[in-house]
Amino acid sequence: MASHASANMNAVRETMDVLLEISRLLNTGLDMESLSICVRLCEQGINPEALSSVIKELRRASDSLKASENSTSQG
């Protein structure tokens, strides 16, 4: 059982590697961690389109937040 689990783990790791490649190819900007989060969310039935819009929004917000922080720290 343990061996099966480990084999499964390896298979999943490979899958994740492939997925990371695809995401790189597509220039999604996801790293391994965010990718695994996304996969899990998708597995839990989150609509991919919704998830993508959330991610985009989060990126934008975080960028603007950082930008404002930078500007305040400078000011």
């Binding site: 298979a11 220039n27 900007g29 899990r40």
Partner: protein, 1061 residues
Amino acid sequence: MAHWSRFEKELELETRRLISHYTSIQDEEDQNFQMALKFAWSNFKFHRFLDANAHNVQRSINGIHEKLMIHSDLSKAESWLRLTEEFLSSPLPNTEGTKTDVHYSVLALLLHLSDSPSNTNYCERPRPKETEKEDKFDWAKYLMEGEDIDTGPFPDTPEWSEDESEEEDSQQPLSREDSGIQVDRTPQEDHEQNDKTVQVTWTVGEPDSRAWLEQHIVTSYWVPNSPRFPHSLHLHSNLYNVWDQHLYNTGPLYLPEEKSFVTETQVIRETLWLFSGVKKLFIFQHNDGKVTVRNDVVVTHLTNNCLHSVLEHIAAYGQAVSRLQKFIDEVTGHSAEPCPPGLNSSSSSSSKKSSDPPFRTYQAFVWALYKYFTSFKEELNNIEKDIIAKDETVTLSSVLERLSPHLAQITMLHRVFCTGVADVPPGTPNVLRASHLLNTLYKAIIEYDSVGEASEQSVSLSVFNVEHKMHKFVHLSMYRSFFFFFLLIKRSQNDAVFSPSYQVALLFSLWVETVRPYLEIVDEWIVHGHLFDPAKEFIIQRNKDVPVNHRDFWYATYTLYSVSETVESEERLSDAASGSSGGEQASSSRQHTMVSFLKPVLKQIIMAGKSMQLLKNLDCKETEQPDGSSRDAERKSLYTLFLESVQTRLRHGEDSPTNTVTEQQATKKSLIKMQSIVARHLELDDIHDPLLAINFARLYLEQNDFHEKFSGSNVILDRSSESVTCQTFELTLRSCLYPHIERRYIECCGNLMRTLKKDYRLLGYLQAMRNYFLLEAGDTMYDFYTAIFDKVLEKESWQQLAFLNVQLQEAVGQRHPEDSSRLSIFLETIDPARKKQPVNNLDGLTLSYKVPWPVDIVISSECQKIYNQVFLLLLQIKWAKYSLDTLRFSDLTVAAKKQEGGQSEESQAKEPVNQQIHRMFLLRVKLMHFVNSLHNYIMTRILHSTGLEFQHQVQEAKDLDQLIKIHYRYLSTIHDRCLLREKVSFVKEAIMKVLNLVLIFSDRWQAGFGAWKIESIDKMESDFKNCHMFLVTILNKAVCRGSFPHLESLALSLMAGFEQC
């Protein structure tokens, strides 16, 4: 939120992770975090998006693949397809099965997040997944290229682990051939190589380094079973596969072979390398100087046959290049490839060459070739740079197009080389090789020139035809723009280097270079009188065994090698006996003998050279000698003069008034002709526009002018020689080379003639010859010969050398003391059978005059022989005359009176004595008349007048050869006119008979009346009458025929004597 299920809790957890990951806010109580969480939740729960659809996702995947293909991102497209496929068939952490909705939704997520995948520089980023798939790839072979790794410090060079670098060190340094490619390995070596590669297995851990290597190192296509490079799957780039498949499908027996795939760039590079003389190539293989194309090389976008036919073409050129290259290496003495001594013929020949004096004609030819190849390689380099720059597409056909003028030139060079150098059988003397090479070049220039003109005509004609066909469809309004279009085409045609005149130009420059040693030899010879030709390549060779101050110098010193092209046999024409005229005749009889370009001036060269050498060896007392050396430094060599004249001719050829006039006339004529043609063409289409017709006509003419003007303005010879064309080539030689030689010839020979006449008293010696041999110094010689005749009269022996010489010295020493030491007389022993007649008594008497060098070149011993013959004849006549003149009437009358007393009865029976004496008197007068006529004729009519002519000609003689010829002609003339020729020997015999008669007669007279019978008078009378009559008849006939005008006086005077008796 107690009602939340575990599922929802997990979801919440993941969402928080996501937010914290993206916002990097760790504090979950943060306001921002809460806002983000709310936002995320609201989006997750209350969205209006459709669920992920497998079909849609699949469509998107295919769409992206196609897009990548269109963008020619072959590798990307391939990996995209493969990766998605792999993903869909792999398990997910918490989901059972493959290709589930979850898979698709994950892909859909990525697709939504994707940011213009085709636009990114993804291809430059590492792709560990793909390289992992290619893990079996043989890195060692990649690294055979070697240099990138050796040079090391590239900024983006991946870092190697310790083990790996050790492995790298353990690998043998691989020798890098010129091309960087190794193909010339034996299978054995190949095997070793494979072993090595097996040992050195690279496990490059870091993905970046692999990618770096892949992008920076050429695929080792030259290794068997090398990996296929990735290429587009587009139909265009897979023609080979498609065709192969087709063959496979249609032909049941078709057996697909193992092929090595290369890219077109690789083919181009190998082509360039081949042209630049690299021997070890993959696609092209050298086999004993032959270049063949590998059969198993294919590119993906062409069929095998197509590629092969193109490559075969290239290989032919490559072979020509390598042959020429080899020749260059051979002559320059270093083989491109160092080979063990004794194995290679070229190495042995080069070692042999080092001992031989350099063969300068070949060297010059090679130098010219080398210069050409330098420019050719420059072009090759430019192309290679273009390939490296990647600014424009470089295809094989474009490269060939670009090189086509060069290739045409190389073909031509190779042809010239083959006929001029390679076809010459080994062991041929250098002189043959050199002249053959020069002849070949010369002929090639003329040939290409005429061909060039013809082809140019045909080009313009064909253009005209095309234009004609086209303009049927072109409306008049378009016609004018069409006209300008053609103007452009014409211009571009002009600019194309392909024009045959460029080949002529190249040939001309080759010829000019190659001819340099010859001209330098000629220059050295005719300026310094020294034929410096260590390699024996000049058509004229100095015979070493004849010293300059030898009598035979002028004839035997030089050998003219005449090469007959038809039989390829060598003929030595020693220009003996008749001077250089012998060589001249020989050359005119064979059209292709010797170096054609020198033929018109060969005589002058020989003359000038010989004269110069002679002049140098005479201790010239001329004042210009001392500063000769200083002048020599400033003096331009013949070759320089030639080049300068060629340049000025090319630059100002159009400026000369006669040229422009004729050119303008020609232009006008052809303009009118063209105009009529064009007008006819236009009328065919109902277009009557004379202006247009004129413009068209002008266009064609302009093309020719344009070229000439363009090239004429250039100063550099190689460029300006482009305008050298057929008619002008020989004219160029005539106006640029020959005048210099001619001038030098006149100068040299003039100098020689002056020196000979002034310092060596040539004229004095000629006069002396006439003085003594032709008895012009009458008083002197009279003293000499009368002494002999007196001895004969007194019946004493005169045939003693001492006596003769003393007489001669006494006679000469009185009046010409300077000649007394030179003159001597000999007696040749003559067989007694010939001495029957008294007149032949004098035979064997030979006068000899020691002519000092160098005048003995003119007055040779052969000449003296002729002089002697005339001298003998003159002596005989003089003797007869003398013996008649010295007879005294008293001798006869006194004797008669004595006899009258004693034998009166006897004599009364016959004739009275007085009557007999009278007959004797009469006969004597007749004989005197005859002898005097003859004497007169020969001394005045012949010798004197011919001598005057001769003196006149000698004054005008330009060179020594001419002088010798004049002298010979003079001698043969007097020989002829003195009737000494074999042909008229019967006349001479008759004369001799008379002279003999005279001698007998005078002998009898001396003996006194009664010492001989009266019948003998009858006999003498009748003999004389017969001879006289015979001579008169013969001479009259000759005079009537008019063939011997000089005989007229003799005939007349003899006839007068005859009629009287």
